[in-house]
Point group: C2
DNA sequence: TGTTAGCACTCAAACTAAAGGAGTGCTAAC
DNA sequence: GTTAGCACTCCTTTAGTTTGAGTGCTAACA
């Protein structure tokens, strides 16, 4: 799609309209633009330009005697070219930021939860809903592994991945194993599986573990099962949802049934994983904006989703997505996601 | 409060009114009662009785020409004496039950999550919001403890409590410790702290651990800190919220701002812990019903909260609470909580 | 004395009509 | 190319009207 058709003045007017609509939440008329955004033109002229912009598909009218609202195409152009980029809009929230900073410092060293903490911050800054997904690339490897006796018939399996995600599982053992047997098994498993990827663990390796341990097969199979379960779990992404109720603040969700279906979607981790994964295309600075029906998911077809993927040295750390009405403050959202990147990555 | 003032017929009529209101969600008039609930009386007679019941405070009228709705006092009597107790209302959902049974079987052996699974079931059966709280009695003791090296500068601390709740924490170590030092420290900590209650760990004991280990104090203090953190964490209850969006199904929350404030409350774990703890009074079968303003929390003063505490051999396993409009199907909710008790406790 | 039929009365909700106003499109003049 | 002016549209608000479910009261009845 090329935008050459648009002369600079039209762009300016379109930008003014969208800026205004984003803050006012009301269809904006020609008089408003002529007055508020001093551009030395009368409302009649603006009116003519608006008619042009509508014909080109950048604006639409709810009804004949109403002002104009941006179309998806309008938002698209706005996000791509028009928007005053970067910090500008974040400034008024500087106080919020500092309030939040301290909070983040506390959380940041619980490595497991960086993404959660970051999502919370984004949600708080933007007042939209933030979804965080810790990276779930299959290429993670086992970094540490331990089997701990808990009581006579129970054993705890712990796996730490190379991204410091921790998984554990309690396993009931059919027969009790001695502490020596267990610690031996723990060492063997650790030796065999450390450095392995979840999907590259073969049956042969499991067999080898059983043989090396020299323990009765039936006695330890449940435990090894638990270990594998743990490792597999790591492939299923962790999803953190923050500020879900923020949606209800926006007038486009005044309709309860609409709000309900969206909230239900947001509470559904699988769907959210899909939504965020669908947005992993690089995009400028790793940020992708999907507007309205650009999201293939039907329920969010009147929402926009802005996602940022965070990676360090080529390793994907996670993704944070912001969900809000198509009339969202793209500028603020993108600034927030950038802000979090700056705080997250130097570490 | 005594109910002697009410003759049997008044009770019957009150019960009919409340039954009807619970299902119809509409103020109920005298004609409805006379027709639907065959009791050989004309609407005029019912009308007289209703006027009496209103005077006594069991009913109220939204406006003069509307039917009656139950007052809190009315619900109270209904729950205490009138309600046809037990299974009755659960029958129609027998198919839901069996659908859910299989699901539960899968979850039940993840011991950590019994309460979560149970809450989910309750929420699904009742279509209200269920809040589960795993027991957080301070009297839990440490059952197993282990310190695992993860990489040069990181160590994972794991604590298992006697109720099989697992806590872990990643700790950054200022200086790297050798594997031998760590395993020694792990064994010492385990010996010293196993069987201890969270709040009975003294500074002397920590000192002793440091001395016994023979390692430089500064090197291991962060780790011991992590261990204590872990143990302390166990005192803060785990809260599981299931079916929060179900609230939006009920007409009393058609007002978005009302719904929002309630949803925010429900998402607030501390508040929910307070709410459930406030309801731990024994009550018949461990079930407590708080109607409207009987909840001291302002935001739920037009809701009812039904809580069930589950305990085995005197040990408190957890609490599940159901939140819904005062006009909730108490019968169904109580049945569901009882059902879950039956499935949970034999285990 | 308790029950019931009948009737006047009340009041929210649903519908209708009219007024108000924000905003447009078009035309004609600058 | 820009602008003032004006007729026109159509949503929103307000006020007035109708409808109907439900009540309270009274008088008659068993």
């Amino acid at each position: 799609m090329s935008y050459e058709e648009l002369d600079p003045r039209k762009m300016l007017i379109l930008k003014a309209i969208i800026d205004d609509y984003i803050t006012s939440k009301e269809p904006v008329g020609s008089r408003t633009i002529a007055k508020k955004y001093q551009m030395g033109l009368s409302s009649a002229t603006i009116r003519n330009e608006m008619a042009d912009l509508e014909e080109m598909g950048y604006l639409s009218q709810p009804h004949t005697s109403a002002g104009r609202i941006p179309s998806e195409k309008g938002y698209r152009l706005y996000v791509d070219k028009l928007m005053t980029p970067g910090v500008t809009d974040l400034k008024p929230t500087e106080d919020e930021l500092s309030e939040i900073c301290g909070y983040m410092e506390n959380k940041i060293h619980e490595m497991n939860n960086i993404v959660k903490a970051a999502s919370e911050i984004v949600s708080r800054i933007t007042h939209y809903t933030a979804i965080g997904m810790a990276s779930s690339e299959k290429k993670h490897t086992v970094k540490a592994l331990q089997i701990i006796p808990v009581d006579l018939k129970k054993v705890l399996v712990i796996v730490v991945l190379d991204n410091d995600v921790i998984k554990n599982q309690m396993v009931k053992t059919p027969d009790s194993l001695s502490a020596e047997e267990l610690s031996k098994l723990s060492v063997i498993c650790s030796n065999m599986l450390t450095g392995m990827q979840a999907d590259s663990i073969s049956l042969e390796m499991i067999n080898e573990i059983v043989i090396l341990s020299g323990i009765n097969r039936d006695k330890i199979l449940p435990i090894i099962d638990g270990v594998l379960d743990c490792i597999k779990q790591c492939d299923s992404a962790e999803i953190y949802t923050e500020g879900a109720t923020n949606l209800l603040e926006h007038p486009e969700f005044n309709d309860v049934s609409k709000a309900k279906s969206l909230l239900e979607l947001i509470n559904n981790e699988e769907e959210m994983a899909k939504l965020l994964q669908g947005c992993d295309g690089a995009g400028a600075k790793g940020i992708v904006v999907k507007i309205g029906t650009e999201n293939e998911m039907l329920e969010v077809s009147d929402c926009s989703v802005v996602t940022a993927t965070y990676s360090l040295n080529g390793v994907n750390l996670g993704t944070i997505g912001v969900i809000g009405p198509t009339r969202m403050d793209y500028n603020k959202v993108i600034s927030a996601l950038e802000y979090v990147r700056r705080r997250m990555l130097p570490e």
